[in-house]
């Protein structure tokens, strides 16, 4: 899910991928620490969906 947000927000641009990744880490969502268990956490999923919305990304 995090990688989808990065990909869609960046449009594939490598610089924007890095910036978006950093923005998400600062928001508390580190791609390297997003696990299969995270995908089952309703609270995290809800928050991440809101983050995507705030960033103008349609999931």
């Amino acid at each position: 899910m995090i990688e989808t947000i990065i990909e869609k927000r960046s449009g594939g641009n490598e610089t924007l991928k890095n910036t978006t990744r950093t923005k998400l880490i600062i928001k508390g969502y580190h791609p390297d620490r997003w696990t299969l268990q995270s995908e089952d956490d309703p609270a995290k999923i809800t928050e991440l969906r809101q983050i995507a919305l705030d960033m103008g990304v349609k999931l």
Binding site: R9, T15, L16, N18, T19, R21, T22, K23, I25, I26, K27, G28, H30, R33, D54, M55, G56
Partner: protein, 345 residues
């Protein structure tokens, strides 16, 4: 300054100013120029670190092709930020969210006592891919009142946004002089609004921090400047500086999110690191015509304490430079003990 402006006038003037100086008359005298500024905790100009000074840099259309300005009049209000962002887009002719980050850059000057920098930077980052870089206004370590300025009007609890279309190449330097140690501290209980960490690693924060350093708890606060903590993202570090201990909690100069793994940091050589960063960027750009330095007051104090402030100022002797000592720096998020710099080719 007015005498030295070219006939086509100045598009933009950046003016870090003294908190106790009424310069509204001065700024109105710079005809044809948009003027932004803020109160500071010290100033920088080409080759020198200053105190009790006013520094200014004027840009004409050979360096900045176009610019737009707005004020977030209430940094606690999402609507105020949205309005300011919308006005920038209207003035520049394209919505902020559609601008090419390679052609535009933003400057943000924000009330350094507002406690709102994180929210503002977070939301700005949602609204646009354009990088906004800047600093938190200071007031000479009085911590009473800081100001941001746009065209002669002073604001508190506010932020000034400047959106620039540089005429040539530009780039950003973010430099902080720390290395990550092996110890990690995970905030397991926090009060984000108060920038308070109550527990690290499920232990009282002050005890956990002291334990990670291997020092008695009563000595922990003496290590704050040398050993802050940082969010490590790849090969970059976003520093979070501890401010004080109250009870067993540690209060920081920026918000720390619960669950965010932080590395314990150890300071390195500010002058050497900054020299390397500036030289590399100037090499990449094949020259620099202007540099704006948003320089953390904690770095300034460390340099002064080590007798290195003149040496630091001298790093910028060969580049037209202004800057100021900030109560925090802005680059993607709100950070501490960092210099963020905008460099124009």
């Amino acid at each position: 300054m007015q005498r030295n402006l070219p006939d086509h006038g100045a598009l933009l003037c950046i003016l870090p100013v003294r908190p106790d100086v009424d310069q509204q008359g001065d700024v109105r005298c710079i005809r044809g120029a948009q003027v932004i500024g803020c109160s500071t905790a010290g100033e920088i100009v080409s080759g020198r670190v200053l105190k009790d000074s006013i520094v200014a840099m004027a840009f004409d259309d050979r360096t900045v092709r176009d610019a737009a300005f707005s004020v977030v009049t209430d940094v606690t209000s999402p609507d105020s930020l949205a309005d300011a962002a919308r006005r920038l887009g209207e003035d520049i002719g394209t919505p902020l969210g559609e601008l090419d980050f390679r052609k535009y850059v933003g400057i943000i000057l924000i009330d350094g006592l507002s406690g709102s920098e994180e929210r503002v930077m977070d939301r700005l980052g949602d609204l646009t891919n354009v990088t906004f870089i800047g600093g938190s206004a200071g007031d000479d370590l009085k911590f009473e009142s800081t100001y941001v300025y746009l065209n002669g009007a002073a604001y508190t609890n506010a932020a000034v946004l400047a959106l620039l279309e540089p005429a040539g190449k530009f780039d950003i330097i973010k430099t902080q002089s720390f290395k990550a140690l092996k110890a990690t501290l995970v905030p397991t209980k926090v009060n984000e609004e108060r920038r308070e960490v109550i527990e690290f690693n499920n232990r009282p924060a002050a005890l956990a921090y002291a334990g990670a350093l291997g020092v008695p708890p009563e000595d922990a606060s003496k290590r704050f400047m040398r050993n802050p903590v940082g969010l490590v993202t790849g090969d970059d570090i976003f520093v979070r500086s501890p401010r004080q201990i109250e009870g067993d909690s540690i209060f920081f100069y920026c918000m720390v999110k619960e669950g965010m793994e932080l590395a314990l940091l150890e300071s390195t050589d500010i002058v050497a690191d900054t020299r390397r960063a500036v030289e590399e960027k100037v090499r990449q750009l094949a020259g620099a015509s202007a540099l704006i330095n948003f320089h953390c007051i904690l770095r300034a104090l460390e340099l002064e304490g080590n007798g290195q402030d003149k040496e630091y100022g001298a790093l910028f002797a060969g580049i037209p430079t202004i800057g100021f000592s900030t109560y925090g720096e802005e680059y993607i998020g709100h950070i501490n003990q960092t210099s963020t710099m905008l460099v124009f080719k």
